[in-house]
Subunit: 483 residues, 2 copies
Amino acid sequence: MTPYHAPLNDMKFLLRTFSTPAETTNRPSLSSEDAQEILLQAAHFIEQELAPINAEGDRAGCKLEGNNVLLMPKFKQALRAYAQAGWNGLSMPHEWGGQALPEVLAAKIAEMLTSANHAFSMITALSQSACKAIMAFGSEQIKQTYLPPLVTGDWTGTMCMTEAHCGSDLGLIRCAAEAADDGSYRISGSKLFISAGEHDGSDNIVHLVLARIKGAAEGTRGLSLFVVPKFDPVSGERNAVHCIGIEEKMGIHANPTCTMSFEGARGQLIGLANEGIKAMFTMMNEMRLGTALQGVGLSEHAFQKSIAYAKMRRQGQALKKPKAEVKQETAQLLQHPDIRRMLLTQRAFAEGGRALCHYCAQLLEVGEADSDAKREQASLKLGLLTPIAKAFLTETGLESASMAIQVYGGHGYIRETGVEQLYRDGRISTLYEGTTGIQALDLLGRKVLGDQAKTLLQFTKEINQFCSSLIEPQNMQENMQKS
Amino acid sequence: MTPYHAPLNDMKFLLRTFSTPAETTNRPSLSSEDAQEILLQAAHFIEQELAPINAEGDRAGCKLEGNNVLLMPKFKQALRAYAQAGWNGLSMPHEWGGQALPEVLAAKIAEMLTSANHAFSMITALSQSACKAIMAFGSEQIKQTYLPPLVTGDWTGTMCMTEAHCGSDLGLIRCAAEAADDGSYRISGSKLFISAGEHDGSDNIVHLVLARIKGAAEGTRGLSLFVVPKFDPVSGERNAVHCIGIEEKMGIHANPTCTMSFEGARGQLIGLANEGIKAMFTMMNEMRLGTALQGVGLSEHAFQKSIAYAKMRRQGQALKKPKAEVKQETAQLLQHPDIRRMLLTQRAFAEGGRALCHYCAQLLEVGEADSDAKREQASLKLGLLTPIAKAFLTETGLESASMAIQVYGGHGYIRETGVEQLYRDGRISTLYEGTTGIQALDLLGRKVLGDQAKTLLQFTKEINQFCSSLIEPQNMQENMQKS
C-alpha cells in the first residue's frame, strides 16, 4: 500500500504566500521557520504513528463489552502519544494550556490527520470543537474545570445532538433536563450516532448535550446546552450516562459510533437556558470547517495513492510515445489520457480545496481581531463560505476517492490497496454535520437570502477585483501579498 | 429494512408497448399473458428466496478451507432452487434444454436478480455468458458435453482473463497452453479476480480460460480460448485447477473472488487457435449488457429504499403545506425539494435505463434473425449501444445508490438499513467487464471511428425521426406500436 506523505510543499506555499496580516490577528506572531518546523514535526508524527494503523483500525473496529467500548490498543496508544506531544492544544489559547498558534497552521495539521487516519481524527476534532463551545459560552467555573484537560487531550469531548427520531431537525429533540436544587441539571433521554461517545482512550469524556428543560418551549427555541461528564471532575464519581450500543457502519470502523443513554445524568448548563442552539452552532460551524478539511484530506490521499499506482502499473499502449522510444512498450497508466484527467481533477480538488480552507482559517483568526468592523466582516464572510466549503469539498473528496478506485481498476475494489477504505471512511463526510442538502439550505436560506445577498455580492466583488488585477501580470505578486 | 419488490408494472409496460416484431425473431412466440405470468413467478422467487439472504450474505461472506470455497449455506440452497425451478435456461435454446424465451423477458429477470442480490446474480450471469461462448464457438462434442448441465444450472461457468499484471490489457497474458497428444491442452499459469472460480454450490465448474499456446504470437493475436472443467465430464477426475486465495473486497462478499492456479490442467480449445480473443468478446459483450442491467437494478433498488424511507421519516417543515393543514406539522422527507430531486433522478435512471436495456435485448434477438441485412444492422447498433449502456447505466446506478445514502442521512451509513451495501456491492460494476474509461475507448475507438461514425449517424437519425413524429401527438401511439 502506498504510504501517506503530508503535502508539505503546497502547505508551505500557502503559509508563505497568503500569510495572515499581523494587524488582523491577536495571536502571537510565529516566524516562517518555526511554522515550517512545526509542520514538519506534525507530518513526522502523523506519517509514523497514525497512517500505519489506519488499515488495521478498519479491520479491527471497536468492541462493546457491557457499557464499555474498547478501542484498538494501537489507537489508544496513538491518542496518548498525540496528547503527550501537545498536538491537541496547538491553536488553543495560552490561558488554557494551548499554544495559541495560527489557525492556518492548525488547519494544515487537521488536514494531515484526516488524510492519514479519518477514524482517529474525528476523536480529536470533536474534542477541539467542544473546547471552542465551552470557551465561548461556559461559565468561568466550567472553563476552569473542563478546558485544561480537554486542551491537553487527556480528556475527550463529544457533541450529543441526534436522537433516533431526529437528525437534521433539532427542534424534535426529546432529551429532557430537570433542574436540581444545587443549580445543576439531571439529563434523561437517549442520543444516537455519538462519535467516540464512549471509549477507553481518555481519562474522561465530556459530553455537550442538547436537551430541553422541563416546561421549555417546543422546537429549537426550547433547547439548552449542557456539559455532562462521564466522571465528575471533582469527586470522580461515575455519571449516569452509558453507551448502550455501537453501530456497524460502512467505514470509520475504528471510531465508535455510540448510542448514549442518559439516565438522570448530572450536567451543568452552558450559556443561557433556551439558547442552546446558539452555543451548539458555535461548535457546529467549527465542525463544518473541520469536515471541509476532511474532504481536502480525502482528495489529497486519494490523489497520492492514484498517482503512485498510475506510475507503477503498466497496461496498454500510450497514444503518444516519447520520441526516443522505438519499440512499442507497455505504457504506464499515467500515459493514458483518461487516467491523467482523473489525476489532475483529484489534484485540483486537493490544492484548490486546501487554499479555500486556508482562507477560511484566516477568517477564523480575523474573527478574533480587536476591530469590531473587521470582526463582523470576517464573520459574515466565513458564515457564507462555511456551507460552501463543507458541501463542495466533501463532495469533491468523495469524487476523488471514487476516481482512485477507477484508477486502480479491479484492484481498487480489493481491501489491501486501501483505496476502497478511503471511500468508505470518507462517505460519512457528506452526511454528518449537516448533509449536503442541509448546507444548501443554510447557504441560500440564511447566508444569501438572510442579508439580501449583501455578503455574497461583496465577496464576488472581491473575487472580480482580484481577477481583474491579474490581467496585468506585474500586479499579481503585489496582490498576493496584500490579500 | 425495506424489502425489494420487482417493478412489475414498468416491466409489463415495456413488454406490452415495445414488443419485438415477430418477423425479426426466431424465438417461439409467447403470449402476453404467459410473459406476465413468468415475470410474476420470477418476482415471487426472487423476492422470497434471494432478496432476504442479501444482507446475510454480505456479513457471512465466503470461506476458503484449503482449496475449497464454502458459500454461505443459504446461498447454496438458493442456487439449487434457482436451477431446479428452471430459471437458468430461460432464454437458452430448446436444443440444450432451455426454454428459448425472449431476451427482453430474460433481461427483466436478470435485472430483478441483481437488484435483489448482486452477489448471487453474478454466479448465474457468468454461467449464462459461458453458455453463449460455447454455443457460438464450441465444437459439437464440447457443446454436447457442457451445455446441458450449464443450461440447467447444475454446473456453473467462469471467465478467466485477468492475471496479476494484466487487467484491461489482455495482450500481456502469460497463462500458457501446451498441446497434448490426444488433441487436448495442458494449461498452466494463474488467474486473478475470478468470480465464483471455486465454490461448493454446483456439481462442476467450467472455466473458460484465455491462454497462449506455446510459440504463439505476443499480444492478443496469440491468445486462444480453452474450456477447463473442475471435474472431467466423463471420468469425473479432479482437474489440476485450484483456488489458492479469495479476496477481501469492498462488497459482493457472498460471491467468492478467486485466485485460480492452473497446474497443467487439462483443457480443450474452443474455436480456432489464436482466435481466443474473438470468442472471449462474445462472452464479454454479453457480460457488458448484463452489467448494464446491474446498473438498472441498482438504481431501481436504491429508488425503492429511498422512497420508502422518504415517506416514513418525518423531519423539518415543508416549504409548501397542504391548504387544509393549519398546525405546522413535521414534514415527510418526501416533501423537501432536494429529496424529491434525488428520488426523481433515481427513478429516471431506473426507468430510462430499463427501457435502454429492453431495446438492447431486442437487438440481441434480432441478431438471430434470418435476414442477413437485419442481423448485420442490429449487430452494429448493439455494438454501438453496449459500451454506452454499460458505462452510463453503471455510473448512474452508483449515483442512485449514493443518493439513497444521502436520503437516509446518517442512517444511510449504518449497515442495518441496507443502503450502504447497495453502494458497496454496486461499486464493482464500473470496474469489471471493462472500466468506464475502457468503455469510452471502445465506443469512440471501435464503434464510432471504426466505421467513420456511420452507425452512430444512422442511430441518431432514427432518434430524430422518432422525436419529430412525436410533435404530432396523434402519431405517438402509432409510433410506439411500430417501433
